[in-house]
Amino acid sequence: MKDDFQFVEAALAGQKEAFGQLVERYQDRLIHAISRYLGSVEDAHDVAQDAFVQAYTRLASFRGEAAFYTWLYRIAFNLAMTRVRRRRPMQSLDQAKDSLGNEPIDLGATAETGILREEQARVVHMALGQLDEEFRQVIVLRELEGCAYEQIAQILEIPVGTVRSRLYRARIQLRDLLAPWLTVEMGETDQQQATPRKAAR
C-alpha cells in the first residue's frame, strides 16, 4: 500500500485521483472527530470538504514533517473552530438533540445493548455539545483523536500546562453532565478491567 507521501507526490504531479485516495483514507476519521466537535454531521462534512480542498491547494507546502493526517487535521480543526465561533451563541441543548435525532448514528450492535449504547452515545454526544468550546476542543483531540498533550498544545497553540488543566476541567464538566451513566460505566470497567491506559503518545 502506498504511503501518504507517495500520494501527495502523485497529487502534486497532477494526479488528482491520488489525492482522492488520501481523502478516502482519512475521511471517516476526520468526520468522526469533527462531527463530535461541531455537534453536527452536516457541518462536519462541510468543514471536511473545505479542509480537503484547502489541503489540496496547499499541498506543496506539506513537507512531510508531520504525518499527513496531522497536517490535514490541523487545517480541518482550524476551520471547525472558525465555524464554531461564527455561529455563536452556542448550539442549545435542543438543537443538539435535533441534530442528533436527524442523523441517527448507526451502531450496528445487537438489540438490547444496542439500544442502551445508542442512548448512551446520544447522551454523551449531547454532553460534549454542552461543554465550553475550549474544553470540547481538548476532549475531542485527546479522546477521539488520541493526541498526546504535546500535539494538542501544538494544534491549539496553547501551552502543555493549559492542555492539562483544560482536559481536567473538561472531564469534570463531563462527569457532572454524565453522572447517571458513570455508575454503569464504572461497573463495566470494573468487570472488564482493562489494563491502564498506556502512554499518551
Binding site: G20, Q27, A60, E134, G161, L182
Partner: protein, 506 residues
C-alpha cells in the same frame, strides 16, 4: 485502585499525610500517563492517602471511556467525489497556489513603520496621480496636499453635489461600470484588465525595522515599493487582538488558512537577524527563496527615484498623516506595550482572498476584537468591495471627522466592552487638510442606508462578482494588542518531562 498503574514499593511506604496538597488536574493527566516521574510519584502517594481522590480518578476514567466509546461517524459516500469535483474546478490545481508566494513581514516598532508605509503609499499614489495630470513637480509634501485637496473634488462619487448617483447608488454604479473606474486619476481601471492575469501572484517583501538611518532608508524604500504600485490598490487593516491570541499566532494562522501566507521560518529570521544586525528585504528573499524579480522592476525604479527625496518626515507631512501615530494609551486605549506590541504584516493577494480573510476576521470576534479597514482615497475598486459590506453597520465611526480621507470598516457585532477597547483612530490628519478634504467625504458619510431594492441587490451581486476576483490587492495588516486578559486557564505551563519510567509502568 482499579486500573491504576502498579505503585512502586517506596511510595507505599511513604507517609501519605505529608502530601495533602495536589493540583487536581494531575489526576486527569495521571490517567493519560502524561506526568513527569516526580508528579507521578506525588499522585500515587496522594491516592494512597485519599480514597476520595481514588474515586475521582475512577470517575474521570469512566468519563474518558464513555467518550472514547462513541460510535464512529463515517463520512458520507459522496464526500470524496465532492472534494474531487471542487478540486477539478480549481484553476491550475495545487501548483500555482502552493508556491511560496507571499511573505510576511513584521516590525517590532510597527506603528511608525506602518505609518511610513501608509504615508509612502499615499504620497506615491498622489505623486503618480499628479504626474499623470502633468502637474509641475515641486516638493512632495506640497503636491500631496494639493493632491488630496484636488481629489476630494475630482472624485464625483464621493461628492453628493456631483451626483446623479448619490448615496449607495454611487457605489453601485461605479462598481458595475468598469468604465467609470477609468475616470479615476490613479488609473486603477487597470485592475479590470485581462493582462494582469499572469501577474496575479507576485512577491512580497519581508521587512524588519532598521536600526540605523541608512538601513531605515533602504527599508523604507522597500516598504514603499511594496505599498505603492501603479496597478495594485492597497488596504490598511488594523486588527486589535487580545494578547493571548497574538501569542497564539491566531492572525498568522488565519492568513495561513486563507492561503495568504506560507509561514516563514521565524527562527531562520532571527538567526539571520542576529548575524547581520538587520534583516534586509533581499536577505529575507534569499533566505526564503522568494523570487525577487517578481516585482515590476520598472515601477520599482520609478519609485526609487521619487522616493529618494522622501524621508520619513517628509512622507509624513506629504501624506498629511501623523506617522508617529498617537500613542494609543494617551487616548485612553488599552493597548498594551505601545509600539512594541504592534506588528505589521504586508501581503499581496487576489482581492477575493483578501476579502475572505476580512470576513474571517470579522467572524472571529474571539481572537480579533476590532478591525478597521482603511482604504486610501482613490483606491476605488477595493473600496467598494470592502465598504459595501458594512456601510450600514457602523455609522458611529463614520461620525469621526478626523478620518477624512480614509473610509472605515468596522465589525458590527462587537460587544460594548470590545468597542470600548477598540482604538478609535490611528492616524491624524492635519487640521488644514481635514478642512480642505471635508466637503467631499462628508457626502459619502451621509449615504442613506436605504433598503436595497431587488434591482440594486442584483447590481450589487454583479458588482461583487466583478470586483471580487483575482485582482491583486496589497494589504498592510497592523496588529495591535489589548492588555492581556485573564484567560480561563491560568495554570502555568507545567513542563512536560519525558519519563521513561512512566512509560514502562503498566
Amino acid at each position: 485502585m482499579n486500573g491504576s498503574p502498579a505503585l512502586p514499593a517506596i511510595v507505599k511506604m511513604a507517609d501519605p499525610n505529608s502530601l495533602d496538597e495536589l493540583p487536581d488536574e494531575l489526576l486527569s493527566a495521571y490517567l493519560d500517563d502524561a506526568l513527569s516521574s516526580e508528579e507521578r510519584v506525588q499522585v500515587e502517594r496522594h491516592l494512597l492517602a485519599h480514597p476520595e481522590a481514588q474515586k475521582q480518578v475512577e470517575q474521570l476514567r469512566a468519563v474518558s471511556s464513555l467518550v472514547r466509546r462513541l460510535p464512529p461517524q463515517p463520512a458520507r459516500a459522496d464526500l470524496r467525489d465532492a472534494v474531487l469535483k471542487r478540486i477539478e474546478k480549481q484553476p491550475g490545481g495545487t501548483e500555482r497556489i502552493a508556491k511560496p508566494k507571499l511573505m510576511i513581514g513584521r516590525s517590532p516598532r510597527g506603528w511608525i513603520w506602518a505609518g511610513l508605509a501608509v504615508a509612502a503609499s499615499i504620497a506615491l499614489m498622489i505623486y503618480q496621480e499628479r504626474s499623470n495630470l502633468n502637474q509641475p513637480n515641486s516638493d512632495i509634501a506640497r503636491r500631496s496636499m494639493q493632491g488630496l485637496q484636488n481629489r476630494s473634488h475630482d472624485l464625483e462619487w464621493t461628492n453628493p453635489q456631483a451626483g446623479e448617483n448619490p448615496g449607495n447608488e454611487a457605489f453601485d454604479e461605479i462598481a458595475t461600470a468598469p468604465s467609470s473606474a477609468n475616470k479615476t486619476p490613479t488609473g486603477n481601471a487597470k485592475l479590470l484588465a485581462d493582462e494582469q492575469e499572469e501577474e496575479r501572484f507576485k512577491t512580497y517583501s519581508h521587512f524588519q525595522f532598521a536600526e540605523s538611518a541608512e538601513q531605515e532608508e533602504e527599508l523604507f524604500e522597500t516598504a514603499s515599493q511594496f505599498a505603492q504600485s501603479a496597478d495594485t490598490p492597497i488596504l490598511v487593516v488594523h486588527v486589535v487582538m487580545p494578547a493571548s491570541a497574538r501569542q497564539n499566532r491566531a492572525f498568522e494562522n488565519l492568513l495561513e488558512n486563507e492561503g495568504l501566507i506560507d509561514r516563514p521560518d521565524l527562527d531562520g529570521v532571527r538567526e539571520l537577524r542576529a548575524a547581520n544586525g538587520v534583516l534586509t528585504d533581499q536577505a529575507a528573499r534569499r533566505q526564503f527563496g522568494v523570487v525577487a524579480d517578481d516585482v515590476d522592476k520598472k515601477g520599482v525604479e520609478n519609485q526609487k527615484r521619487s522616493l529618494g527625496r522622501v524621508s520619513g518626515k517628509s512622507a509624513d507631512s506629504a501624506a498629511g498623516l501623523a506617522v508617529t501615530p498617537v500613542d494609543p494609551r494617551a487616548e485612553g486605549e488599552s493597548l498594551a506595550d505601545g509600539g512594541e506590541s504592534v506588528e505589521v504584516i504586508m501581503v499581496e493577494a487576489p482581492e477575493a482572498n483578501v476579502l475572505s480573510c476580512l470576513e474571517k476576521l470579522q467572524s472571529d470576534e474571539h481572537n480579533f476584537l476590532a478591525i478597521e479597514v482603511d482604504v486610501p482615497e482613490g483606491q476605488l475598486n477595493s473600496r467598494h468591495a470592502v465598504n459595501r459590506r458594512d456601510k450600514t453597520v457602523d455609522s458611529q465611526l463614520a461620525e469621526d471627522s478626523s478620518w477624512i480621507g480614509l473610509q472605515q470598516f468596522n465589525r458590527g457585532q462587537i460587544s460594548p466592552s470590545q468597542r470600548a477597547r477598540q482604538p478609535v483612530k490611528r492616524a491624524v490628519r492635519s487640521p488644514s487638510l481635514a478642512k480642505a478634504a471635508k466637503p467631499g467625504l462628508q457626502g459619502a458619510r451621509k449615504l442613506p442606508a436605504a433598503q436595497p431594492s431587488a434591482a440594486k441587490a442584483e447590481r450589487k451581486a454583479i458588482a461583487r462578482s466583478r470586483l471580487v476576483g483575482d485582482n491583486l490587492v496589497r494589504v498592510v495588516f497592523v496588529l495591535g494588542t489589548t492588555a492581556p486578559r485573564e484567560s480561563v486557564s491560568t495554570q502555568p505551563d507545567l513542563r512536560e518531562e519525558s519519563s521513561g519510567e512512566a512509560a514502562q509502568q503498566e
